[in-house]
């Protein structure tokens, strides 16, 4: 009875959507002044927060990148490209970008593989809906706890006297504790993957959950093998989830500094961790110029990804 009720409600909703689809699609150009006013009234609080705390700070950083400095944190308003010349000419910049790209690509590959298969497992292999939601929540709970704490929680495991080294020594695989486990690039990537896989799981889970199971049954009836179903149905239909997850992972890794700083033990640096050091010694214009360049790179990457998927359509669908 209950499922019939749910089916009915769902049916109603679909009918309504079908009805809405028949209406001439209202592009922004066709909206009435009244609708425009109402829309802006509803989003005005959002705009009133984002204007001073997102748009203005970005403009301030942009302005600061053109200012001169006295070297003690004082800024002289003006227009000079000196900071950009300095940043672009420094061999360090290239090194920082290469390191950042290395971390980003490695993290992206691992979070994508793990995230994709975890989502696939939850959507297609867990038969009980409640259990699937429960397991999904189990994956999301750590997202709501402190990132810093989750990062330092690797210390007792990866350290020189950590559990992993103790176990390997105990088994006799190694005779000297491995030092590359903690305070290394490996530790940085582990911490990133640990924190960010959830950003892949959630959007991929969402787009996979929308795949009509009848499609897969039809494919099986038509003689498709498991691999073909994956390649021809599941992957293309979860593309938007993958794109969304990629935006999250790439922008967080490229904008991060504390994981690099702590987990590499100071041995590695990324663009933003160098920015952090610059700010620490009050080199605001150089830091700002480097931040502007990074933002441009990020915008380019994100808009490339957005070309493949209309994320607003995706979320509201």
């Amino acid at each position: 009875m209950r499922s019939a009720g749910a089916g009915l409600r769902r049916c109603d909703k679909n009918d309504f959507e079908a009805f809405a689809d028949m209406q001439p699609s209202s592009s922004p150009a066709q909206t009435s002044p009244r609708a425009n006013l109402a829309g802006w009234l509803y989003v005005s609080p959002l705009v009133l927060v984002l204007a001073p705390f997102f748009v203005a700070p970005i403009l301030v950083v942009l302005a600061a990148s053109f200012f001169a400095t006295d070297g003690f944190g004082g800024l002289t308003p003006g227009f000079t490209l000196a900071s950009y010349v300095e940043v672009l000419h420094s061999a360090l910049t290239l090194k920082l970008y290469l390191a950042t790209i290395k971390f980003t690509v490695l993290t992206w590959v691992f979070t994508l593989i793990i995230g994709f298969f975890v989502a696939y497992f939850l959507v297609f292999h867990v038969r009980n809906q409640l259990l699937a939601i429960g397991l999904f929540l189990l994956c999301t709970v750590p997202f709501w706890t402190s990132n810093i704490i989750r990062m330092i929680s690797w210390i007792p495991l990866l350290g020189k006297e950590g559990l992993i080294n103790q176990a390997l020594l105990g088994v006799g695989v190694i005779h000297q504790p491995l030092e590359v486990l903690l305070f290394s690039d490996l530790a940085v990537v582990i911490a990133y993957v640990h924190q960010l896989t959830i950003f892949m799981i959630v959007p991929i889970f969402n787009s996979m959950a929308r795949i009509d199971k009848k499609l897969i049954e039809a494919a099986i009836d038509a003689g498709a093998r498991r691999f073909d179903i994956m390649r021809l149905i599941v992957v293309p239909m979860s593309k938007s989830g993958i794109a969304l997850g990629t935006i999250f992972v790439v922008s967080i890794v490229m904008g991060d500094f504390f994981v690099v700083k702590v987990m590499s033990g100071g041995g590695s640096a990324s663009v933003v961790s160098a920015f952090y050091e610059d700010v620490g010694v009050l080199q605001y214009p150089t830091a700002a110029a480097s931040a502007v360049l990074l933002t441009l790179v990020l915008v380019a990457i994100v808009s490339l990804i957005l070309r493949t998927v209309d994320i607003r359509q995706e979320i509201t669908r």
Binding site: V49, I133, R150, P156, E217, M254
Partner: protein, 296 residues
């Protein structure tokens, strides 16, 4: 994100169509491989966290790694009494207060924006991309910009002004995205019915939309609270002279090498778990209440 899951039971597909081909009948070998992968993932997700919770209960001889040296609450006492570990109590208070303020603002603003984005209006794409920009911009850069802005305007940076705004630039995009997911599952017929029965716009929001969307709003509140409570990069340059808890933890990771650090991790995670539990619990409660009143 979670709102999607939280709202699933309501619009759930009947369970008969749920049993899909690859797992019909006997389990294929891929099931066991993926189940193993999933288990490993969950262990790797929670394992390290539980290590530090356990290690925080050592006695005074305790170190940063296993084996456990005794059992006591020494490092928790140490955390709140020692000057060496900084102003943990004060920063804890501030973080909770700030998170509550951020939560209230996030819920109200996200709800309104969610209402606004239901219909197209001129400039909606601009507002949408402004929000996405605020989400993906490097937090430290935004924080520095906000800090410099306050400096240029002659205002003092503090946790309740500049840090509040900086955190909202992070929690609001999340809140609105969750609202999108929630709103897309809202059946507009109910709202139409309210109007047909003579409800005003405000009445339809208060008496129809808010009760129906309550679980989603709780989810937005959960995001607002936890993202603010754990926020670090955007607060670093904007909190002024008084630290929030994550900033305190950050400075401890650089100076303190005792299990106090782990004790702080345990304390802050308990707070997070209480908030998560309360949120998810109230979502389940609302859904249950609905189920029983629908039957009766």
């Amino acid at each position: 994100m979670s709102a999607v899951a939280a709202n699933m039971p309501e619009t759930a597909v009947p369970s008969t169509t749920r049993a899909i081909a690859p797992s019909k009948g006997g389990r294929p070998w891929t099931f066991y491989v993926l189940a193993a992968l999933f288990t490993l993932y969950v262990i790797a997700l929670y394992g390290p966290m539980f290590c530090i919770y356990i290690l925080s209960f050592q006695d005074i001889r305790g170190g940063l790694v296993f084996p456990m040296k005794g059992h006591s609450l020494h490092w928790f006492v140490d955390l709140f009494t020692q000057v060496r570990t900084g102003d943990v109590k004060g920063s804890f208070d501030r973080s909770i207060k700030l998170a509550v303020i951020v939560t209230v603002i996030t819920v109200v603003v996200s709800f309104l924006a969610g209402l606004g984005f239901r219909k197209r209006f001129r400039g909606d794409t601009f507002v949408f991309y402004m929000m996405i920009g605020s989400l993906v911009a490097p937090g430290l850069v935004l924080g520095l910009g906000t800090g410099l802005l306050f400096q240029a305007l002659g205002l003092n940076a503090s946790w309740y002004s500049s840090a509040l705004g900086a955190q909202l630039s992070w929690t609001l995009p999340f809140g609105v995205l969750v609202m999108f997911a929630v709103m897309s599952r809202f059946n507009h017929v109910w709202e139409e019915a309210a109007y047909d029965l003579g409800a005003s716009r405000w009445q339809s929001i208060r008496l129809v939309m808010i009760p129906v969307l309550a679980p989603g709003l709780v989810a937005v509140a959960l995001f607002g609270f936890t993202l603010s409570y754990d926020e670090f990069a955007r607060s670093l340059q904007t909190a002024g002279s008084l630290n929030t808890l994550p900033l305190e933890i950050w400075s401890m990771t650089l100076n303190v090498t005792s299990p106090s650090l782990y004790a702080l991790g345990t304390v802050t995670t308990i707070v997070s778990f209480v908030v998560i539990g309360a949120s998810l619990g109230s979502i389940v409660l609302i859904q249950k209440k609905r189920g029983s009143s629908a039957k009766g």
